[in-house]
């Protein structure tokens, strides 16, 4: 069980045969007198765990203990207690954080969805270059810093491997928000969307990049709303039956520019639906009709109660269409959605 490039994973000979470990008496797993969960080990893992338990029990803080914790984590990255021990050792030994980050990076290639690896990474980056120090510099200088450049590159690679890796996106959000790297993020998101217009994580990140950490009550200016509508509709054209851009643009506008639903989005999608090249695809996608329900409801909200009926009736008629023709799979939802039209 070796990881290339990790210099602290040394001699693969059994620990009992290594001179450096002669002074330690391994502690065997104790499952109690009548184990309900007796555990089977391979010999190598059993041996490593025995030595790890011994050095932990002795409170040892040493390079060999650090190396051993690394071997256990390599074998079993979910092993929580090995992580706890390692983190304490990194602090106690004042280990080189850059080297620790190298080690985490090498391990991450094999375990891209392990919570501990990503969280450990966060802690290391913060120590390597505290955000408070970073934020004293302008953004272009922050971006030029090797620590952040490496991190952006690392998380970019993780997303190249798996463009929907929840952990990677979460980490990227932490990085961008903490170090205020907003200016570069929209371009990154655009690249990800170009690679896969159906990547819901990328569209979620677009919302994050556009909002730039501002509160949920923020109202976006008309120009920005228009630009985002144009962007979303452009991508809807590529693949009309794709949930993400629809959910994004309707969600964004409902929260941050409700008038643009009627002023900007409605005419564009109506135009697309009337275009002979797109009409069949648009009329057969539930998302087009669902957006119309949202838009009509919002339009109605902006009117005095006495004038809302035609729009709400239209919205209900669309729910019928969805339930009976366009989205029969979710017909139960649409039948109940109809009864909720205009309620809020």
């Amino acid at each position: 069980m070796r990881i290339d490039g990790c210099s602290d994973i040394e001699d693969p000979a059994p620990l009992a045969q290594q001179a450096a470990w002669q002074d330690v008496e391994p502690i065997a797993q104790d499952d109690g007198p009548s184990p309900i969960c007796p555990i089977a080990y391979t010999d190598e893992y059993r041996e490593m765990m025995g030595y790890l338990r011994a050095v932990m029990a002795a409170g040892e803080e040493s390079a060999r203990a650090l190396a051993l914790s690394g071997r256990v984590i390599q074998a079993n990255p979910g092993h929580y207690t090995a992580w706890v021990y390692r983190k304490r050792l990194v602090e106690a030994l004042a280990s080189d954080i850059g080297a620790e980050l190298d080690w985490v990076s090498a391990l991450s290639a094999k375990h891209p969805k392990n919570y501990q690896l990503w969280h450990h990474r966060e802690a290391l980056v913060e120590r390597l270059w505290p955000a408070r120090a970073a934020l004293a510099l302008p953004e272009d200088q922050r971006l030029a810093n090797p620590v952040l450049r490496r991190e952006l590159q690392f998380v970019g690679s993780a997303l190249d491997e798996d463009a929907k890796n929840f952990h990677a996106w979460s980490y990227r959000q932490w990085l961008v928000a903490r170090y205020e790297l907003w200016a570069q993020e929209l371009a990154f998101v655009d690249t990800m969307i170009s690679q896969d217009v159906r990547n819901n994580s990328a569209w979620n990140q677009r919302y994050f990049a556009v909002l730039r950490g501002r509160p949920a009550t923020t109202q976006l200016d008309a120009a920005l709303a228009r630009a985002e509508v144009a962007y979303a509709v452009e991508h809807i054209q590529f693949a009309p039956n794709n949930d993400s851009p629809w959910a994004y643009v309707v969600g964004l506008l409902l929260r941050h520019a409700p008038a643009a639903l009627h002023d900007e989005l409605l005419p564009r999608i109506r135009a697309l639906a009337a275009d002979p090249g797109f009409a069949p695809a648009m009329s057969s996608t539930p998302f087009y009709w669902s957006a119309l329900v949202d838009i009509h409801e919002q339009q109605a909200r902006a009117l005095p109660p006495a004038e809302r009926a035609p729009l709400l009736d239209e919205a209900r008629a669309i729910c019928d269409r969805l339930a009976t023709q366009v989205d029969i799979t979710h017909n139960r939802y649409w039948r109940f959605r109809k009864t909720a039209v205009g309620a809020a």
């Binding site: 104790d30 499952d31 109690g32 009548s34 184990p35 309900i36 969960c37 007796p38 555990i39 089977a40 080990y41 391979t42 893992y45 338990r53 079993n76 979910g78 092993h79 929580y80 207690t81 706890v84 983190k87 919570y115 969280h119 802690a123 929907k164 929840f166 996106w169 979460s170 959000q173 928000a177 159906r198 990547n199 819901n200 994580s201 979620n204 990140q205 919302y207 994050f208 949920a216 794709n242 949930d243 993400s244 959910a247 994004y248 969600g251 964004l252 409902l254 929260r255 669902s290 799979t329 979710h330 139960r332 939802y333 109940f336 959605r337 909720a340 309620a343 809020a344």
Partner: protein, 331 residues
Amino acid sequence: MEPTDPRSTLLADKHVEFIKRLDKKHDELEYWMTEHLRVSGIYWGLVALFLLDKPAALDHQQIVTYILGCQNSDGGFGGHTNHDSHLLYTMSAVQVLLMLGALDQIDTKRVTDYVVGLQRDGMVSGDEWGEQDTRFAFIAVAILSQLGTLEQLDTQGIVDYVRSAMNYDGGFGSGPGGESHAAQVYTCLACLAILGQLHVVDRERLSGWLAERQLKCGGLNGRPQKLEDVCYSWWVLSSLEILGRVHWVDRQKLCGFILSAQDEERGGIADRPGDVPDVYHTCFGMAGLSLAGFKGYALKPVDPVYCMPKDIVERAGLGSWTDKVPESWRE
């Protein structure tokens, strides 16, 4: 004798045997690789057994002794003996003890202090290293509600954090800005339900988002454009149940999907048909079948907030979250 069709029959006896065999799998690598979450494994196995109405299939006293042995000096529980405490395993430990009627065997104050000690600036971390996630918001609230010490937590701080994780699609992520994901939706809804704060939820939009998780095969996914997985039968269905909208999915088709993921030979349920079964998917597949009202077996009703049998939750006085559901939601 007619062969049983696994697509329409719940292979209850096989699942019971699968769960009973879990502690005997000396020859399987997966067994020792999951040592660090053994406590959660026991919780998942026990839930499945209880829902199958076979609670006695495992030795309760042995389990209680083992669980108590996983408690550490900081009051929390590790995933196995001599493993460091974490909120995840503390939750499973408390749930197991509750289900086995042995909660009185722990010092409530010690566990409460452990959980409360993990709260910083309103939000609760999973451990001393500070990982934050809406899962932990729910877990902290759920643990203390089971211990009867919820008032010791700054619940407003938790509600604020959960609200900040609400997205433009009505769903919830792991934290502010995080992509909506069915598992996070469940933890946020369950948290808000216990705290009587469900009114902050966009019920329509979220219910629609959840209903959209159902794919043509009947299975449910966790977010748009992803694959179906049996465990979402729980995360999505429990969420819909809390919202009062479980009828918005085709439950019969969902049951068919879950049953097709059973392992006819070994017992147990996998993430999808043809894959290797595990106790986690067995638990959530069973809970999903129960919530979906599967008629082919007398499964016990499951509480959608605590993922434990309803009768146990009610006897423990924890069923009152239903009284705090917004008035307008009661159709």
